[in-house]
């Protein structure tokens, strides 16, 4: 029962979200009290569903690219051939995390102009850091006995990486991706200030026209997405960690 209830809650939240995205007008009575008499209570300058999908697509594309690059780099610096890069990468990650996402976004605009691109770049760059850090931690803190055993059984470097090291580091890497996705989901909304198609449009429209209902629905959709995705990742990590004997 203790496990059942939160899952039921999640399922219900997901159901409400899906209904809201497909038939937002059903929720109009709930949001109506938040707006002045004749203002619309449901976002009407575009489809909430398509904004949500493009929001998710932007985050997904940026996170995928960030994952590939960050895990690739982490693999490189944890091999003997890349060991010289390890100390600097660590301090770069540390410095990089002090870059506010908004600043990264703003700085990307001069380089690539308006639209989706600066958002993608900002999300990509900012997403790199947690994934890289976690992948590096995961790959460099494997139990020495297991790494030794993998060499001892005659695995080649590539086999050790793909059959032992990456599978064992996977839960930690996933935790990094989860962090990165959660930050990106929220940061993507700011992308709408530079004309990216995200749920930020809804929020900004609300701020501009003093429409609290818009702000609320934009913010809540993003928050619910973030919570659900966060939970899904956590569940996946738990399963993997249990299988990897770390649970």
């Amino acid at each position: 029962m203790r496990r059942f209830l939160p899952n039921l809650l999640r399922l219900a939240t997901l159901a409400v979200l899906v209904v809201f995205l497909f038939r937002p007008e059903l929720f109009e009575p709930l949001l109506k009290p938040l707006v002045q008499a004749n203002a619309p209570a449901i976002y009407n300058q575009g489809s909430l569903l398509s904004l949500t999908l493009s929001h998710l697509a932007t985050v997904f594309a940026a996170t995928l690219a960030a994952t590939i690059v960050a895990v690739g780099l982490a693999i490189l610096v944890t091999r003997p051939i890349g060991a010289e890069f390890l100390p600097l990468s660590r301090s770069l990650v540390n410095i990089g995390q002090t870059f506010p996402p908004v600043a990264v976004l703003a700085l990307a605009v001069p380089a690539v102009g308006f639209g989706e691109k600066p958002t993608l770049i900002a999300l990509f760059l900012y997403g790199l850091l947690p994934i890289f850090e976690n992948a590096m931690t995961g790959l460099s803190t494997l139990p020495p006995a297991i790494v030794e055993a993998a060499r001892g059984t005659g695995m080649t470097g590539w086999q050790r990486l793909t059959k032992v090291e990456l599978p064992l580091a996977l839960p930690v890497v996933l935790a990094g991706i989860r962090l990165s996705v959660t930050i990106s989901l929220a940061t993507a909304t700011i992308g709408s200030t530079v004309a990216a198609k995200t749920l930020g449009e809804v929020i900004i429209a609300g701020l501009q026209s003093n429409n609290l209902a818009f702000v609320l629905q934009g913010g809540l959709v993003v928050a619910v997405l973030a919570v659900l995705i966060y939970d899904a990742f956590s569940a996946l990590e738990r399963v993997l960690a249990r299988r990897a004997g770390r649970g």
Binding site: I146, T153, M155, V164, A244
Partner: protein, 312 residues
């Protein structure tokens, strides 16, 4: 046969293994002992090239171990380590199948091998095969570790303090299992330990290492009688000598003609165990029975005392 010739390993200015030469006969158990930092593990790891030597060569059955790539060499040599090193994300069966899979064996042959090894180590294949390592006890994990090392039927098995993490009761059982396995497969075993008790119990020959050099390489009895240096003598422990001497012989060898009352002793138990049983039971003699349960004679306190005395 493993021939180690003038092998040296240096890390920077420190020489960890210093010009060591030794020949390890096939189908024997060789135990390398020494204090920590004596270079014993490094020496062993140069056999399967987990460590590359600075100088010297190692030949396995006449062939230089640098003739093939390191990972292929390691697939032919079993390797078991302290804390077992099992892959936590793979089941027991998958762990044991590691090297056969790397070698590209057929599925059916692998399955048969896994089953054979599990039952050899007294683990029920159906029950234990699908489990993950963290679901096993320490002793079971250790057995699976050795089973994995033996899966590809290697002629040589290297073991680095394989029983170091086990509690004394399970350790004694694991050592006896190892002896049985060695007799079963005829594997050449090289085992590194700092436990002299273990060395005398298992070894056909013992190599004592100190500061990167082999100070004595001899059969256990020989080492007891003629320790090459003070260091070897200290390592053996002067007070332990008679008991160590008894621990390398079996009760069967010490059996005299005649009969005795009391709980019979197995012929393959060590003489040390026999002495212990005699002292504890308060008797002067106990009967000895063979593997078939048939009496083959008796051991006496006086007989064991003669055997425990310094050989002339």
């Amino acid at each position: 046969m493993i021939e180690i010739e003038a092998i040296t390993k240096r890390y920077g200015d420190t020489t960890v293994v210093d010009d060591v030469s030794m020949t390890i006969a096939p189908h024997t158990i060789t135990v390398i002992v020494g204090t920590s930092g004596s270079g014993k593990t490094t020496l062993m790891r140069m056999i399967n090239r987990l460590v590359e030597p600075s100088e010297g060569t190692i030949r396995i059955d006449g062939a230089d171990n640098h003739a093939i790539p390191g990972h292929e060499l390691r697939r032919r040599i079993g390797y078991a380590i302290q804390g077992h090193g099992l892959f936590p994300h793979r089941t027991v069966a998958q762990n044991i199948a590691t090297v056969p899979t790397l070698l590209g064996w057929e599925r059916r042959r692998i399955d048969a091998k896994v089953e054979e090894l599990l039952s050899l180590f007294q683990l029920d294949a159906a029950a234990f095969g699908p489990r993950y390592p963290h679901e096993l006890s320490g002793g079971q994990q250790q057995r699976v570790g050795v089973a994995r090392a033996l899966a590809a039927e290697p002629n040589i098995l290297l073991m680095d303090e394989p029983f170091g993490a086990l509690d004394p009761v399970i350790r004694a059982k694991a050592q006896d299992d190892l002896l049985a396995i060695q007799r079963h497969f005829g594997t050449t075993i090289v085992l590194v330990t700092h436990d002299m008790e273990e060395a005398f119990h298992l070894a056909d020959k013992i190599a004592v290492m100190d500061k990167g050099k082999i100070v004595q390489y001899a059969a256990p009895e020989e080492m007891l009688v003629n320790p090459a240096t003070d260091f070897v003598e200290t390592l053996i422990g002067a007070g332990e000598r008679p008991f160590r001497l008894l621990s390398v012989g079996t009760t069967g060898e010490a059996a005299e003609a005649g009969t005795a009352d009391g709980e019979p002793l197995a012929a393959d138990a060590s003489q040390r165990d026999a002495l212990s049983a005699l002292l504890w039971s308060g008797r002067d003699a106990l009967p000895v029975v063979g593997a078939d349960g048939e009496p083959i004679g008796r051991v006496t306190l006086a007989g064991l005392a003669r055997r425990a005395a310094r050989p002339q």
